[in-house]
Symmetry: C2
Subunit: 139 residues, 2 copies
């Protein structure tokens, strides 16, 4: 598998989920407390984790229904990969599809990332629904 | 994406994780409370969920390091797909790689299954580590 793909629903409007993956305060509420984000298209955000891992994401696209990042630094298997969040209103919920693609190798490492992403996406879901996610404490 | 692939570690010996995906008592502790399982190779297990969903899994392979099922009934996109659990001792933990493959179509439905599986695998992890998972209550 060279692509990670998770879809789920959030009991919140698409605008709230969008802000949670674009704004610094949102991202620090569910992904990591240690981050540099200016929230503009073309900018590069930095995310640091307690384990010592970090990544730098170039914001490739910011549209109400879609956010796209390209990883420009971090774990060597991440560099050059793309991450997209798609949002769609579905009744009084938002359907979110998350994709992380462009891995060069099919490996257990990608399987680990898939599992970790799902856990962070549960955190995103909880953050949007209750205001309380479970972000990494950062470094 | 036509394959779901998650890897993670469990702080328990491989034998414990193996039993949790083979024995009826194990499966009812993390996947669903409503199940018919005899735990033998070649047998067909049935799993029912609160939502009304169900599936029937033929046990294709039972080895200490690998369990394989083939879905023989249930959601039409699941029929004919295969599920494998691979276990490997890694120090005092077990590395588990889970795969669900053979989907005919790349769809949001597979993305939903990927997200749901990750949640159940967290439940498997908690069940093996603490004796307490979060299984579906079944039907």
């Amino acid at each position: 598998m060279k692509e990670i793909y998770h879809c789920f629903w959030v009991k919140a409007p698409p605008e709230d989920v969008y802000r949670a993956v674009v704004d610094k305060s949102g991202l620090s509420g569910w992904w990591t407390r240690s981050l540099e984000v200016n929230g503009k298209a073309g900018s590069v955000s930095t995310f640091r984790f307690k384990s010592g891992a970090f990544n730098r994401m170039k914001v490739r696209s910011l549209k109400p229904g879609k956010v796209e990042w390209e990883c420009v630094d971090g774990h060597e298997e991440w560099i050059g990969t793309h991450i997209t969040f798609d949002f769609r209103r579905d009744g009084n919920r938002t359907k979110v599809c998350f994709s992380h693609y462009g891995f060069k190798n099919q490996s257990e490492y990608v399987g680990e990332c898939s599992f970790h992403w799902a856990n962070y996406l549960v955190s995103l879901q909880e953050y949007c629904e209750t205001g309380q996610g479970k972000p990494d404490q950062g470094k």
